[in-house]
Chain length 230, copies 2
């Protein structure tokens, strides 16, 4: 990586949400040889759009391609990233370092979040990463820099956007029951919802299509399946 | 201005909304000696938080102090800002330029918007500015770079946040009539609203306090005044 090709002092961090086993999860690479995790992130080439950089970084770090990313906030406290953690990450992995480089100075980081279908993700790892795993948002590992705060802000944005962005469209498989959709909403909002209120509200939004049941001996006891009207 | 003190390739642009004469307006400085306006913007010192930079820039460019700014989006297309306009702006104002400087290269710009009480604003001008004026969002002057797009995005954010952020709290004087509040909402949303629906919705939000009328001869014909519950 030739550091000269990148915009100095600028990075991108991605918060990748998935939903599995009634848990909202975040995809996080672990730093090799350190008890530290980071968000999948990287730098912006001088020649590329921010959106292109976010897609490239995500693919390099996690193997995920062409997924829906949304910019949500830019993190720019002067003291959010000192060079100490970067030095540690590079030194334990036997990289040579030039201490005067901008990569050991302050960073402004642009946050993107993505919603992916958990069952379709096959991850790979970047050059600093030991592995890349899913973590329940209630049980996050030890995170470097202000990455815990970035995840929190992404989660707040997700909650705020919940109805408008059809969050379920990306986090659920193609067909699902009303109960599964309610559990997803409850998990994101982190609070119980009344079944009748939830059902009335969701159906009134006109975003769901009910799939007619096929006639089989037992089918009348199975719940209806729904899918999103695209 | 010593350019070495700033984070290269990074800028802040501020969209300042005010409301006057049933128009939503934006505060824009005009570039000296050019038929061009820009958003009030500037660079981020290596030592300051983004929020601090936004406040400082706003004060330097417009005279506005301690106002509520909210970050809304970061603009990062690779081709959004070539150096041509910057060179033109500096050359017509007889500044010396070093063409190799990063200020003539690509910029990533962080957008902030603010809502101010039009009647309280006394503007001043920055070093490149001829004057700083309010413009109706439907009649914007000739804008440099992608600043028209930045204003559009700020406006979309304002509309999206309209109910949550108590937009009226900052754009209206302390007391106002229901009709004035409705006109503000209509102006921001750029569409007529039904009086009865609007009134019912706003009152149900529990954000307004009605000020009791004082008894005078003519007062019974005057409309009620309201203020926001803080």
């Amino acid at each position: 990586m030739d550091i000269e090709n990148y915009i100095p002092h600028l990075s991108i961090d991605c918060v990748i949400f998935g939903f599995h086993g009634e848990q909202l999860k975040v995809l996080l690479p672990k730093v090799k040889r350190l008890d530290t995790w980071t968000l999948p992130g990287g730098y912006v080439l001088k020649s590329e759009d921010l959106e292109e950089a976010a897609q490239r970084i995500l693919e390099e770090r996690t193997g995920l391609k062409d997924i829906y990313l949304e910019q949500f906030y830019t993190f720019g406290k002067a003291k959010r990233s000192t060079g100490e953690m970067m030095k540690k990450m590079l030194l334990v992995n036997d990289f040579e370092i030039d201490e005067s480089s901008w990569i050991f100075q302050r960073f402004v980081s642009i946050g993107y979040y993505a919603l992916v279908d958990f069952s379709k993700v096959v991850t790979k790892t970047g050059v600093y990463d030991e592995f890349c795993e899913w973590y329940d948002i209630h049980q996050l590992p030890n995170l470097a820099f202000d990455h815990a705060e970035i995840i929190q802000k992404a989660l707040e944005t997700l909650r705020y956007m919940l109805d408008d962005k059809l969050v379920g469209l990306n986090l659920l498989p193609e067909t699902f029951t009303m109960k599964e959709l309610q559990i997803l909403y409850q998990t994101i909002l982190d609070k119980p919802l009344r079944r009748d209120n939830f059902q009335r509200k969701i159906l009134s939004m006109g975003i769901l299509e009910r799939i007619e049941k096929k006639f089989t001996g037992a089918a009348h006891k199975a719940p209806y399946l729904y899918k999103f009207i695209k």
